[in-house]
Subunit: 273 residues, 2 copies
């Protein structure tokens, strides 16, 4: 019997309303988009600003309690980067409403652009993309074992297997100076566009227009160039695990952009553009 | 006499605090990062959600009043994309405090990743990146001429000169169904990391470590693949303006990643990592 695919609950703030056929709620789809992003955008409120804060951070989803968990399992998001004292203080604040989960309410977005979609009219221009949003509550990781787990998870997300090829474990000063946030996920959603342009029937039937305007998709993807050694590097050549990752990642990125050229069958509802 | 370079004011919520030497406030630097981003992340609050909304949109900075304005001039951000009825209603709300500018308080982020920075220790791992944040107030563009200006600006940001190569002007139904937001900028900042890894002196003096761990930068950049025509395309070959743009953009992206290998001299203050 195939296992049921887990989905995030549809909250009013998380449900894809416009072009709802592009909405995806599967944990696996959302976690894949997040874990393949080199940079996430994190947003939260603080009482000293009239605007929500929005900042880039690096992060990775995993499970400290069940490190062998798959991408389609319930996971937490570990965030590392520019964790300011402002954020840290906010994560410590106790909610006034005891039914609210502890921690700083956080929204996290991850997006990949897979192509430019060029249509007959400006309005039908679009992008092929995969975009995910997660909502949850962040607290500071204080347990040493969990912090080490998260540091290894995030380092190996930069380059697979990098952790054991560096000077580890971190020393006491490094453990002290590193802040890791754990975000428990309340819910999330993804929005995905694939395929060719969609124009209005009236334009597609206009022969003069069709002969004048090129329509189609320009695939886009991220590539790694040749690694460039730093001023104090003494290792000759590029290590196997690094060179192999760069080659594989380049092939994967290109393939994702090519796969996005083919329109995915809508899951439910309507809405094409 | 050289013209003074304009900078955004330092507000508590916009000032780069950690590694402050990486902070940039010049309008030109910030506007360049925003206008070269295919996707922006937009964040705002709405009373029906415990979390700030965060969503991808496309946008471009320009000036309707002075269309010939340069990137280093005062500009506004025009946003297009998934402008939900929720956002539109929020932009219409009148602030309770009359000294507050009209419109929805919005935060917008744009980020480019230029490379993976691989150091001797996990803690010193980093990314080369260019990241910008803008804060301001968004209202719906209702003037027809301004809306057309913004639609052309945004279409030509997808592919330069695309607008006049499509079926324009938009018809009444298209004008009606298209929403464009204009964000007046209150302030903003950028954060940029360039250069090789920086490790602690103790690690750099550890010969065994230096001989074991490869250190350096893996450049990263976005590329366009060969354009793929859509099902109803009748134009043979790829039009010159499109092919030329894709080639130039690929060369520019690669160059940006290569330039990021060289450390920029810090402008002021301290902070290296």
């Amino acid at each position: 019997m195939p296992r049921q695919e887990l989905e995030y609950p549809n909250e009013p703030y998380s449900t894809v309303k416009r072009l709802s056929a592009r909405g995806r709620y599967s944990l696996k789809t959302i976690h894949q988009i997040v874990n393949s992003s080199h940079m996430l955008h994190v947003s939260f409120n603080s009482s000293d600003s009239p605007f929500p804060a929005i900042l880039p951070m690096i992060g990775q989803m995993g499970s400290f309690d069940r490190p062998s968990a798959d991408l389609d399992d319930v996971l937490e998001l570990y965030l590392h980067g520019y964790v300011s004292s402002r954020i840290i203080n906010l994560t410590r604040a106790t909610p006034s409403d005891p039914s609210t989960p502890k921690g700083l309410p956080l929204s996290v977005a991850a997006s990949h652009v897979d192509g430019l979609v060029l249509a007959l009219t400006p309005n039908s221009h679009s992008l092929n993309y995969r975009s995910a949003v997660l909502f949850g509550h962040a607290t500071l990781v204080t347990d040493v074992a969990e912090k080490l787990y998260a540091m290894e998870l995030i380092t190996n997300a930069i380059v697979p297997d990098r952790w054991r090829h560096t000077r580890v474990p971190p020393n006491a000063a490094e453990m002290q100076s590193t802040s890791v946030l754990r975000m428990r996920i309340a819910t999330g959603s993804a929005k995905i566009r694939t395929g060719a342009p969609h124009d209005e029937r009236g334009d597609i039937e206009d022969e003069e227009l069709l002969e004048r305007v090129w329509t189609g998709v320009v695939p886009m993807y991220q590539v790694f160039g040749e690694p460039v050694s730093g001023p104090y590097n003494k290792v000759e050549g590029v290590p196997g695990y690094l060179g192999e990752y760069a080659r594989e990642a380049n092939a994967d990125s290109k393939r994702a952009a090519e796969e996005a050229l083919v329109e995915e069958a809508p899951k439910k509802g309507s809405g094409a553009e």
